[in-house]
Amino acid sequence: MKNKTDTPLTEDFDTQTLQINVGPQHPATHGVFRMDLTLDGETVVRLKPVMGYLHRNHEQIAENMTYAASMPYTDRLDYFNSMSNNFGYALAVEKLAGIEVPERADYIRVILAELTRIVNHISVIGFLLNDLGAFFTPLTYAFREREKILDLFEEIAGSRMMCNYFRFGGVKRDLPPGLLERIRTMMDVFPRFLDEFEALLTDNDILCLRCQNVGVLGRELALNAGLSGPMLRASGLGYDIRKVDRYSIYGRFDFKVPVGSKGDVYDRYYVRVLEMRESLKILDQALRQIPSSGDIISRKAAPFLKAPRNFKPPVGEAYGRVESPKGELGFYVVSDGSPQPWRYHVRAPSLINLTVLEDLCIGHKLADAMVILGSIDIVLGEVDH
């Protein structure tokens, strides 16, 4: 169904626009995001995002802590993917201090980051469907699978959500015995679940009706507005930092980057599904290649595991970025040679992806605005840091 913009009736009638305030407490704003909406009937004519309701001063707190002590705080940035956040921060600091990562640790990192991606995408789709009005069913299925992966995380890192597992130069502890087999079992079951999930959603006519040609985002705008991750790829640009920077050991894996054609909500949904399948491929390769033993933290960084206070990177700056499930997650760190960073900044993909929210929503119905917001995939912890 093409979205014909109805000719406004305003010329004939004396009509008024309706200003409504969506959020900070609203079921569809994914937390405490607020949208200042002006509606003409039910059509959005103006939308101003208001944020800061979860501004937890992450940067200020991090500038007052040792480098390692910020690690658990990065977990709480984008609280769906603590591992990816850890990854980004660890990369930035490793660049700053010039630390190499041993091979086994790199494999562990990649495995966990990809598992996180699956967790994130599956939950995002669940939430998107919730915004579409499906009564929690897809979300429950998604969370059921998420629980299974979180069990693995808990076994590895000790916590379901806030893993705090990466360390500069490696990871905190080695994997518990038998874990790789359990990941393998999970991976064998997961595609079947994904098929079922897709049967529930992908061809569903109502879903197609609601999502196709809604919130179309063109390539040029997407690029110019600094979008990244599945948003950018759904708009037709196959830009994936895992491929471009080949950070960590991503260069060793054979995987593809799915690209959408239209850049609408449906593409954003489906690109995520495809990305999950690609992640499974990476996982499969990583599980086969991972060395069975070896260091899990570099020699240079190992002493700081016990005494984070002594970790003093040389004066300088570093920008580390990873392909987090939301997009390009960057950490900019300036060191002054003391145990605390002088400046610590997070380039939050969720925040920057919101730049285009108004452009996407204008001319659509109120109901679509929620769906578009859902498809952008924001997490308020990261938006507001």
């Binding site: 079921p27 806030m162 002088w342």
Partner: protein
Amino acid sequence: MAKKESRLGVILAHAPNVSAIDEGLKSELSKKGVVVTTLNHLYNWGRSSSIWPMQFGLACCAIEMIATACARYDMARFGAELFRASPRQSDLMIVAGTVTKKMAPQVVRLYNQMPEPKYCITMGACAIAGGPFIDGYNVLRGIDRYIPVDVHLPGCPPRPEALLHGLMQLQKKIESQEIEKTAWYQKGLKREYPVPEFGPRGLIPKFNPEVWQPRAKDNRKERYGEPILIGKKIKAPDLDAETLRRASGGPAK
């Protein structure tokens, strides 16, 4: 039986105003008051097995809250899965996540909008006291500064089981209440909490002294002051000098 029924009538008529029931009558009732006890029991049972939370998440803990409502933990077993989007229809506010100063007025307002009897659970360290973000300039150190909290649930974030445990604690608390003594049926009781305003550096007021008082002795504060060091570092890194040093290959500082 007829006599008891008339007693019941008396109690119901006076229930909103406890002071109307004098002590003597009360003790008499407790001797004979099968009906009262049953009524009490029924009232508490009804309330405790049908707690509808507000669909209201703030941060990380909200995800665990959703996980609690999902298949593995299934809050529905306690009759508490109907997350209502409108505060008017909810009984329980689970403050799940960091309450920032910008958000606090809204949280208080939402609490005010809920109908009595209403309960509040603070889920996670942030909602209790600011948690790990306690030193932030925009972080409210505990929502109990403005509204009364029934159950505090520590953890960062608490496991879903812990939330269920918190819910059971709340049920226990509800079951220990008595219909004649419950706060919301008493006259002249302030149950609408004033909403704080934004000031130049934080909220005005910083807390509501009728609800919350600062700790008499705060070890953390005494020991560490406010461990925020901005302003303490007095020397900025000289990136230009570092560039020159690197270019010339000089020794690191």
